[in-house]
């Protein structure tokens, strides 16, 4: 059965190769080839899943060795895959949601002349992401890790004739590269500590290494995770990444790739378990990010950027849970899966709204859309209820467990982390209600717009050349787009309950990640009650501000916090001052130094030594003969000197 694992990756990889090399003659069928191969991978995943279910919980790890990759003495990297409960979960999420989004893109990208290439990139992404979760050692994981980064780069910059898209793509890659430094160093540390970086031996022997080394490894892995999962301090790229086509935002920047950091931490559980200091840092990063993203999400008028803030925040929950150790690992992954459903659904819904609104993204120019796009409204609405944790829906189960686990950390830390998670739940309810109200309820602000705000953000290029002044005619999207939305909505509604009944998900994942019940100072009922209070408060405040009163077409100036949140809490301003401007000064002065100082000194020294400057001038006149003379002189010198030496 393990022979099938490679096929999971091979199918979309083949798709990418065929679509990207195939050329224009595939333009008419390219999108179906891409969708078909993605679905094929999903079907193989289902077969493997059925196979795993047929085995005992202890025998659900399959290893497939393909070839020796880099062999240099003790440094041995192999192309080997590991399929266990953890990677299986990811495989189904990636290929399942991935196939739905392929299908959706058939409709969404129908009018794009480069649609074939888009599907090629999507297939490339799937292959890389599957490699990331199936790799059996950290170096092979690194290949998938940067592979998804490349796919993300290509897809964010898909409309690269727009300078903003090209810049956003570059920024995403660069920020991720900083994280990659962490992954590189982590692998080197693993090698010097264990003599290997394969999962099996490293995780089995993690306990016998010194705590200092393990803490260093864990912190470097965390740095990598921060880059890929847009956690503070490497969060700044995610908002800009919304320049990519919306299906990309749904698949890569919500459901799958950005959760890779959580995968990395949970996969390395044995290392983190033995490094409590690093675990504390992980929880702090998670808690800070979940608040950071939520606050930013409250202030954005661009529907995709509001959702991006939300993604950052939700991944913050997962990272927080992963930092809690065995108490939280399972729930981190469970929230990751349910989030994959509802966030992908929300993004696809946003794309559907934009599709019907001439690619407008400013929610202040939406309003009252529920009657025009009923399917989008209902599916988006279910996703909304799921993310805010409405009782019975997916988010309710998965998020509640994380909040409980945070309190169970115990001591002051537990209260702080739990409090942050609760506060986050309230803010989540607020910003999502705000999105919901501004988009689907209230006045139809898209009718007869007297003034356009001067710098209306537009993520999609069509807005530039079509319907600039025409009033949009909101309409429901075609079936090929709504069906994926409906499927994801079903997942958003029932996923959490399905996983939680009889602790199904827990029993499934526990053999890989381990699990321990925390010792919470609060009873589960108290936590749930508090969460509900927060939820209601968040919804109520949003209702008071955006439901009862009309939404102004131009954003009011807002409080200090609102203005800060609108500018992403000044993350880019900080980067600009410290890195961009400083870097420019540095490189500019170095270019000067190289030209005058280094070159000058070396030339000068040379001239001083042998009177070479005179020869330089003569040679510059183009007399090749003088070179011949100097060569001859050199040869003569050689012979003479040697004879002399022999004589002595």
């Amino acid at each position: 059965m393990e022979k099938l694992i490679a096929l999971l990756i091979a199918a979309p990889l083949l798709g990418a190769a065929v679509l990207l090399v195939g050329g224009r003659r595939l333009d008419r069928v390219g999108h179906w080839i891409g969708t078909l191969l993605s679905t094929a991978s999903f079907v193989i995943g289902l077969v493997l899943f059925a196979g795993l279910l047929g085995r005992n919980a202890e025998h659900r790890t399959l290893i497939q060795h393909l070839w020796t990759w880099v062999p240099v003495e003790s440094f041995q990297a192999d192309v080997t895959f590991r399929l266990d409960q953890l990677s299986m979960t990811f495989v189904l999420l990636i290929t399942g949601v991935g196939s739905l989004i392929h299908l959706y893109s058939v409709g969404y990208m129908a009018h794009d002349e480069r649609r074939r290439r888009f599907f090629g990139y999507l297939n490339l992404f799937l292959a890389a992401m599957l490699l990331l979760v199936l790799a059996d050692n950290y170096l092979l994981l690194y290949v998938g890790w940067e592979g998804v980064g490349l796919a993300s780069y290509l897809l964010i910059g898909f409309w690269q004739h727009k300078p903003s898209a090209a810049t956003a793509a570059k920024k995403a890659f660069l920020v991720n590269r900083v994280g990659d430094v962490g992954l590189s160093i982590a692998i080197m540390l693993l090698f010097t500590t264990f003599g290997t970086f394969a999962f099996g031996p490293v995780l089995d022997h993690a306990g016998s290494a010194s705590e200092g080394k393990l803490t260093a490894i864990a912190l470097m892995l965390l740095l990598a995770a921060c880059g890929k999962s847009a956690q503070v301090p490497l969060q700044s790229w995610l908002g800009d990444a919304m320049e990519g086509p919306t299906p990309v935002s749904a698949l890569i920047h919500a459901a799958t790739m950005v959760t890779a950091g959580v995968y990395l931490i949970v996969r390395s559980a044995a290392v983190f378990n033995a490094a409590p200091d690093a675990q504390l840092v992980v929880t702090v990063v998670g808690a800070v990010t979940l608040l950071f993203g939520a606050i930013v999400g409250c202030a954005k008028d661009d529907i995709k950027k509001a959702l991006a803030g939300s993604t950052m925040s939700q991944i913050g929950y997962m990272v927080l849970a992963a930092g809690l150790g065995p108490v939280g690992y399972v729930f981190a992954i469970m929230h990751l899966v349910t989030h994959g459903f509802f966030k992908a659904g929300l993004f696809l819904g946003a794309g559907s709204v934009m599709h019907g609104m001439n690619d407008e993204v400013d929610m202040r120019k939406y309003g009252g859309l529920r009657t025009y796009m009923p399917v989008t409204f209902v599916t988006f609405g279910l996703g909304y209820l799921a993310i805010i944790g409405f009782p019975g829906l997916s988010g309710f189960f998965s998020k509640d467990k994380i909040i409980e686990a945070a309190f169970a950390k115990g001591g002051t830390e537990g209260w702080i982390l739990g409090g942050a998670a609760l506060l986050g739940a309230a803010i989540t309810a607020f910003y999502m209600t705000r999105v919901m109200l501004m988009t689907f309820f209230g006045e139809e602000r898209w009718r007869s717009r007297p003034t356009r705000s001067p710098e209306a953000p537009s993520a999609e290029p069509a807005a530039e050349h079509q319907g600039e002044h025409a009033e949009p005619h909101p309409h429901e999207s075609p079936k090929v787009m709504t069906i994926p939305m409906i499927v994801l909505a079903v997942g958003s509604v029932f996923g959490g309950a399905f996983f939680s009944v009889g602790d199904r998900f827990l029993h499934w994942l526990e053999p890989v990640t381990g699990h321990s019940e925390g010792d919470s100072p609060l009873s589960a009922a108290t936590v749930t009650g508090a969460t509900m209070v927060c939820l209601v408060a968040g919804v109520a405040i949003a209702w008071a501000q955006y439901g009862r009163k009309p939404v102004p077409a131009v954003a009011p100036r807002g409080s200090l916090l609102t203005r800060a949140a609108r500018r992403d809490l000044y993350q880019d301003d900080l980067n600009h001052v410290v890195l961009v401007r400083g870097g420019e000064h540095l490189t500019r002065s170095l270019v000067y130094v190289d030209h005058t100082l280094v070159d000058g000194v070396v030339n000068g020294t040379a001239a001083g030594f042998g009177g070479l400057s005179g020869r330089l001038r003569r040679l510059q006149n183009g007399f090749a003969r003088s070179y011949a003379v100097s060569m001859f002189g050199g040869a003569a010198l050689l012979v003479a000197a040697t004879l002399l030496m022999r004589a002595v």
Binding site: V70, V72, L150, T167, L174, T196, A606, L637
Partner: protein, 523 residues
């Protein structure tokens, strides 16, 4: 006596050079085809060398030895180890692409002149360089090596000074001046390096009484040849200086940007992907083998210079406005990695460095040759003169991006494997230096992606709007290089299998063992 395969591999391009130069002025196309055929035949011979070479056999194989200058004990001695085999294969592989990419680079502007035959000269010089580079990789006699190491400067000088990009922003006159400045600078730097090495070569002879690498290394190892510590250090420095100029290592690097900027793209590839490799190769073969103690003595300083090269080269690449200069500074950064790997004195570092030489050759060729195709279309080297090329020439842009991704060592492409090996090999012995070098990967992404963004994305500039996409000849150049980059990225084992035993030998020359891990977790 068996067939002198190594001599033949070097002699074939040498004879080809003479034949190409002798083609009548009017038969330019014939000269091109002749050069291409000779380079392909040389590649075939290199493949034979590769096949006949037994990685687990003797250290030097396919050896040839003849007395040459008896008075000084100079012998014409050739032999290859795994490192040399890999680099000969790289050289022989790249030359046909260089010839094909430079197909029209030396066409005379007007057909008036009869005596001047630039086309014949251009291709003859390329073959001459190939011959000398190959024999430098083969020579196991220090004197023979020195002669060709130096002689290679002559054809390179003419290639840099005599042929440049067609269009130039300040006119042909200014271009000629700048070209000859670059050529002379190249020559003088390398000549000075060579002269200092010459002194060391003579010094070595005085101490050892012969020039044979194997004999001297043997005598040193079993103690029959004693060298005073200070003598060894001086001799080492003499050799190392010449190689550091050629490599080039900071702060001796400033000739490279000028040379690469002024020469045509294929010649720039010849410089950085082929000729410069002789420098790093020689560090491994001569410095470490002949002067193991002095090598270890100098290691700290050299490692620091290497790290400076990595970071400094990358930062300067970020600041460049000229595409070719940018690639040149990127190469300086990459040579820093190679030197770092050699002097980290670990198996991973040295195997990685050798693999790096091969991979850097291929990746730079891919990036630089596509850049050359781009430049020939627009007639400008300035980054600012481009924009939106992706829209009008998607294949060109796509191949340029892949070349760039190889340059930034994207996992999955060949340079990643070698760069990571160098980093991990350095880290195991010198963690701090390894960490600093690792930050080079961020800077590499910066200069590559900024270059791509400014030239290929954004609105289409009017001047590039009619730019044709890659032609068939250009695709034939680029596609195999890309296939190789991917192949060696997922399956570098064929190269490491050849290189590893040779590195093991070098490690025992310097009497170094890889550091042991804290916990023995590997099975």
């Amino acid at each position: 006596m068996s067939f002198p395969l190594l001599t033949a591999t070097a002699a074939l391009p040498a004879l080809g050079a003479v034949a190409t130069a002798a083609v009548p002025a009017a038969r330019r196309t014939a000269a091109k085809w002749l050069a291409l055929l000779v380079s392909l035949a040389t590649l075939a011979l290199a493949v034979v060398v590769l096949v006949r070479f037994d990685p687990d056999g003797a250290r030097y194989q396919l050896t040839e030895s003849h007395a040459w200058i008896k008075a000084f004990g100079v012998r014409y001695e050739l032999g290859v180890d795994g490192i040399a085999v890999a680099l000969i294969a790289l050289t022989a592989l790249l030359i046909p692409f260089i010839v094909l990419a430079g197909w029209h680079d030396a066409d005379p502007l007007e057909t008036g002149s009869r005596r001047w035959r630039p086309t014949q000269g251009f291709f003859a010089l390329i073959l001459a360089v190939e011959a000398m580079v190959i024999i430098s990789f083969e020579a196991t006699d220090v004197f023979v090596f020195y002669i060709f190491f130096e002689a290679m400067l002559i054809p390179m000088y003419f290639l840099i000074g005599g042929f440049g990009d067609r269009a130039h922003e300040h006119g042909e006159e200014a271009a000629a001046t700048q070209r000859s400045y670059a050529a002379v600078k190249f020559l003088l730097y390398n000549l000075v390096g060579g002269l200092i090495m010459l002194a060391a070569v003579i010094g070595l002879y005085v101490v050892a009484g012969n020039f044979s690498l194997a004999e001297i290394a043997q005598a040193r190892a079993n103690g029959t040849l004693h060298m005073a510590t200070s003598t060894e250090r001086w001799l080492f420095l003499g050799f190392f200086f010449a190689f550091a100029v050629k490599a080039p290592l900071w702060p001796l690097h400033t000739w490279l940007p000028n040379a690469m900027q002024e020469s045509t793209a294929p010649v720039a590839v010849l410089i950085t992907a082929v000729v410069d490799k002789v420098g790093t190769f020689a560090m491994l073969r001569f410095c470490l083998q002949l002067f193991p103690e002095a090598s270890k003595w100098a290691t700290p300083v050299i490692l620091v210079l290497a790290v400076i090269s990595i970071v400094y080269g990358a930062l300067l690449a970020v600041g460049q406005r000229d595409i070719k200069r940018l690639v040149a500074y990127a190469s300086i950064s990459h040579f820093g990695f190679i030197v770092l790997g050699i002097f980290a004195m670990t198996s991973q570092g040295q195997s990685g460095a050798t693999l790096y030489m091969v991979n850097h050759g291929i990746s730079t060729a891919a990036l630089m040759l596509v850049a050359g195709f781009l430049i020939s279309r627009r007639g400008s080297r300035l980054i600012a003169d481009y924009g939106g090329v992706q829209k009008v020439a998607p294949v060109l842009a796509g191949t340029f991006l892949i070349g760039g991704l190889a340059t930034l060592s994207l996992p999955g492409l060949a340079p990643f494997v070698s760069e990571f090996l160098v980093l991990v090999g350095t880290f195991t012995r010198y963690p701090a230096i390894g960490v600093v070098a690792t930050f080079g990967i961020v800077l590499a992404a910066l200069y590559t992606l900024v270059l791509y963004q400014r030239t290929m994305t954004g609105p289409v500039k009017p001047e590039v709007s009619a730019m044709p996409d890659l032609r068939a000849r250009e695709l034939v150049v680029v596609a195999p290089l890309i296939v190789l980059l991917i192949f060696l990225g997922v399956y570098p084992k064929p190269v490491t299998d050849i290189v590893n035993p040779a590195v093991k030998q070098t490690m025992s020359d310097v009497q170094k063992k890889d550091p042991k891990p804290e916990v023995e977790a590997a099975k």
